[in-house]
């Protein structure tokens, strides 16, 4: 499928705010997260009720569509690292047209796969569900260590990295995750996502706004400069504030840009550089 929506939906908050994004997805994922809202696509190959629904796309047409919108191409909804040749082809054609390619990924990649794909990617949002190996394996089927290593490796390549964490009530150790991210870099934007009871975790309750607010506080206490909650905490939860003077530099509506006050990536009030690809 190919959908068009703002880059904030992936979510990216520090990569070209408001950019229209042509999003592609093919069935399949290297994880089997018990709460996956997209399981009808992501769990193709595991679940009988996840049929093959893909159809071929012309990468040249996709790049042309993104170029006409002044936008980028995103591979999201399922796991893009399953088809690196698609990313490489989009990036090759996109380079000529001035169209970036970005990923929403589970980050479960080998170093060789990252070395292959990172030069083709302008930005990656990686889901970090847990930093506890037992918990991560239980909920995703895979190890956490490669995901943490991928966050570091993509950054080393110069790819812009943001991280998302679904906050599962009484399960997610937000404090420890924030500490691990802060050890990599306090510049990494951290998106706290409200848990949706779905798929094989229908018995849980959704995350409360107060739990999301508490986790955001833990993120800031760990030193992370940019912590976001998209909807549950209102506009304040999705506003980028200058880490030096607290001036609101980027304001957002739900899943879209409202106002970008940055001047060449700097706070208009105090002049400090706000990390991102603006």
């Amino acid at each position: 499928m190919a959908h068009v929506d703002p880059v904030e939906r992936k979510p990216f908050f520090h990569y070209r705010p408001g950019t229209p994004t042509v999003t592609l997805a093919a069935p399949g994922c290297s994880f089997r997260c018990h709460y996956c809202v997209n399981h009808r696509m992501s769990q193709y190959g595991r679940d009988q009720e996840s049929p093959w629904t893909a159809h071929p796309v012309d990468t040249g047409d996709i790049v042309a569509q993104a170029s006409a919108l002044g936008g980028c191409v995103a591979l999201s909804y399922t796991e893009p690292s399953l088809a690196p040749e698609m990313t490489l082809d989009l990036a090759r054609q996109g380079k000529e047209a001035g169209v970036d390619v970005v990923w929403k990924s589970n980050g479960f990649l080998t170093r060789a796969a990252i070395d292959l794909c990172a030069p083709a990617l302008a930005a990656v949002n990686i889901d970090l569900k847990s930093v506890n190996e037992v918990s991560h394996r239980r909920f995703t089927g895979g190890s956490a260590r490669p995901v943490i290593d991928a966050i570091r490796a993509f950054r080393e390549h110069g790819t812009w990295v943001e991280v998302s964490t679904p906050l599962i009530p009484n399960v997610t150790d937000a404090e420890r995750i924030a500490q691990v991210l802060a050890e990599i870099s306090t510049d990494i934007p951290w998106h706290l996502v409200r848990f949706t009871p779905a798929y094989r975790m229908r018995g849980q309750d959704p995350t409360s706004p107060s739990a999301l607010a508490a986790a955001a506080d833990l993120g800031r206490a760990a030193g992370l400069k940019y912590v976001y909650v998209e909807r549950a905490l209102g506009e304040a939860g999705r506003t980028t504030r200058c880490p030096s003077c607290d001036f609101p530099v980027v304001r957002r509506k739900v899943w879209s840009l409202d106002e970008n006050r940055l001047v060449a990536g700097r706070c208009p009030d105090c002049g400090i550089l706000v990390e991102g690809r603006w």
Binding site: V4, D5, V37, Y77, A198, Y199, P209, G234, V254
Partner: protein
């Protein structure tokens, strides 16, 4: 059998300021309208499978769904 079609966007019927009033996520909101093509049922819920079951029991031939990401 109900089939699913993934779409770019659907209107929200539940707003974030309602989250606190429904901590167990049991709220379901349905909007039914008559269109030129028949009857359209728009739904929103904290628990997607609850909404899918409701629409399935109404014999919906196709359910449109948004994806995460």
């Amino acid at each position: 059998m109900t089939s699913f079609r993934f779409v770019e966007s659907l209107p929200d019927l539940i707003q974030p300021d309602e989250y606190d009033a429904h901590p167990d996520g049991r709220l379901v909101r349905i909007h039914i309208s008559v269109t030129d093509d028949g009857v359209e049922i728009l739904g929103d819920a904290f628990r997607p499978e609850v909404l899918e079951e409701i629409l399935g029991r109404l014999d919906a031939g196709e359910i449109e769904q948004m994806l995460c990401g």
